[in-house]
């Protein structure tokens, strides 16, 4: 499949950056385009990692919830059991994997107040979340700018 998805995204970014951007004199439009080009670059670099990341995150989230099973309330336990049964068996179906991932993360979010009270489960949870931050495939910097001397500033607020 050529151009590949990455080649297409990179090419679009190059054309916008080299052909279109120099002719944009309006500061607001130029600033917006800069941000979009950065995001496009991140998509080109990271899109292929999204499905394996979702699979990895599903497995890690299931491990955290399994370790915390004893402290989940009854409703959450039932929900978790259903999710385990309903897990999609074809990772090629990215939309199904995405939906399953979202349902598991939703359960984890609601289970956090209980999990953080249990030292063993909490340690496993934090270890997984930290590993997840490192692996996250799509991440442009938040609305912040780099000052000449290092550190960052948030323009958003």
């Amino acid at each position: 499949m050529r151009p590949t998805v990455s080649e297409q995204l990179e090419g679009i970014g190059r054309v916008l950056g080299q052909v279109v951007a120099p002719h944009i004199s309006d500061p607001y439009a130029a600033n917006i385009l800069d941000g979009l080009l950065a995001a496009l670059g991140s998509l080109a670099a990271g899109w292929a990692q999204v499905p394996p990341f979702l699979r990895w995150d599903v497995d890690g989230t299931v491990a955290v919830l399994t370790s915390a099973r004893a402290i989940l309330n009854e409703g959450m336990t039932v929900e978790f059991n259903v999710l385990l049964v309903d897990a999609p068996d074809d990772d090629g179906d990215v939309l199904a994997l995405q939906t399953h991932h979202r349902r598991l993360r939703s359960l984890l979010e609601r289970a956090v107040p209980a999990i953080v009270e249990d030292p063993d489960s909490r340690a496993l949870l934090v270890a997984h979340l930290r590993a997840r931050i490192k692996r996250f495939p799509l991440s442009t910097p938040p609305p912040i700018r780099t000052p000449p001397t290092g550190g960052i500033s948030a323009d958003a607020a």
């Binding site: 500061p27 993360r105 953080v116 949870l125 910097p141 938040p142 607020a157």
Partner: protein, 322 residues
């Protein structure tokens, strides 16, 4: 833009009861939460340089122009240098969306002025000026200037009130589950400090929100997040390690210098644990602001596009010692 220029022309002509021309109208690239429009209003031969702050269709921050206008008006009774509000359209009836029009104040704005090209003595002098302004904001007699009728006093539970507010904002805008932020919120809830007193809190105090000439501050900008609360809230915001590039000067202007000077100016004792708690909340707020932008982007109400703020999640986990 032409539509907005015409709206401004009609609005100002109505206010002044004279014919008005709008010239040089352009939107600045700064200001992520509001649209900032610079323009000249020409009345006869007189040119008035003005700035219009208009609510965008979608924003990274949801705030109320009514509160901002009322606070700016009340602060005219103090000696704080604040923008001169000329007209307010709080409903959007005149400008299309709620808009405040202010005089364009003199001075330069540079988020990183404390680490810029100026000599170290000037930068340190400017740092003293800037953060003395923060102390002066906290010393404002908010009851005396009538802000008790505009803003709610959260009392000693200011921390929990702010946490509730930002958790509610998160629930409103999150596009997907955020267990990382649930961990942070659980920590914040378990460690919330009591407020020693209620002061006027700026909410987004930073060098990028002041104008200066030489080493003198001419005006304090951007009052859209102003509220009543714990003074440690602003202190946590300006000592946030993630914002060191804006607020600190290596060796000579570090959090300990800022907090000591602030305490001397205000007579209020600093609680270091409280400052840390508010710094954690500051970064939770930044994460929610990014998610608010994402929410508006997918609804086609915002032009800016962000990806997940996972970097902030790592910082937050570090800050709570997780």
């Amino acid at each position: 833009m032409n539509d907005f220029a015409e709206r401004l022309r009609r609005w100002l002509a109505d206010e002044l009861d004279e014919s008005v021309r709008i010239e040089h109208l352009h939107r600045t690239s700064g200001g992520y939460s509001r649209e900032n429009w610079l323009f000249d209003a020409v009345v006869g031969t007189a040119h008035h340089s003005l700035i219009g702050r208009r609510d965008p269709a979608g924003s990274v921050l949801n705030t109320d122009r009514r509160v901002e206008a009322a606070v700016l008006e009340a602060l005219q009774k103090t000696d704080l240098p604040v923008p001169q509000l000329r007209w307010a359209d709080l409903t959007g009836e005149k400008a299309g969306r709620p808009t405040l029009i202010m005089d364009l104040a003199a001075g330069s704005c540079d988020s990183f002025v404390l680490n810029g090209e100026l000599p170290i003595e000037s930068r340190l002098g400017l740092a003293h000026q800037i953060y003395d302004m923060l102390a002066r904001i906290h010393l404002v007699d908010w009851l005396g200037i009538g802000l008790g009728d505009v803003l709610e006093d959260p009392g000693s539970d200011a921390s929990l009130r702010e946490l509730d507010h930002w958790e509610s904002e998160l629930r409103h805008v999150q596009l997907e589950p955020e267990p990382e932020l649930a961990v942070i919120i659980a920590w914040l809830r378990a460690n919330a400090p009591k407020s020693p007193l209620t002061v006027l809190v700026h909410g987004d105090f930073k060098p990028g929100n002041v104008l200066y000439e030489g080493d003198a501050v001419t005006v304090i900008l951007d009052w859209e997040t102003v509220h009543l609360g714990d003074p440690h809230e602003d202190l946590g915001w300006v000592t946030n390690p993630l914002r060191a590039g804006e607020h600190r000067i290596p060796e000579v202007w570090q959090p300990e210098h800022l907090l000591t000077r602030w305490s001397q100016r205000t007579g209020i004792k600093v609680d270091d644990r409280s400052v840390h708690w508010w710094s954690v909340l500051a970064n939770l707020k930044l994460a929610v602001i990014v998610l608010t932008g994402n929410h508006a982007f997918v609804q086609h109400r915002l032009d800016r596009y962000y990806q997940s703020p996972v970097v902030l999640y790592g910082v937050l986990l570090d800050m709570i010692g997780a």
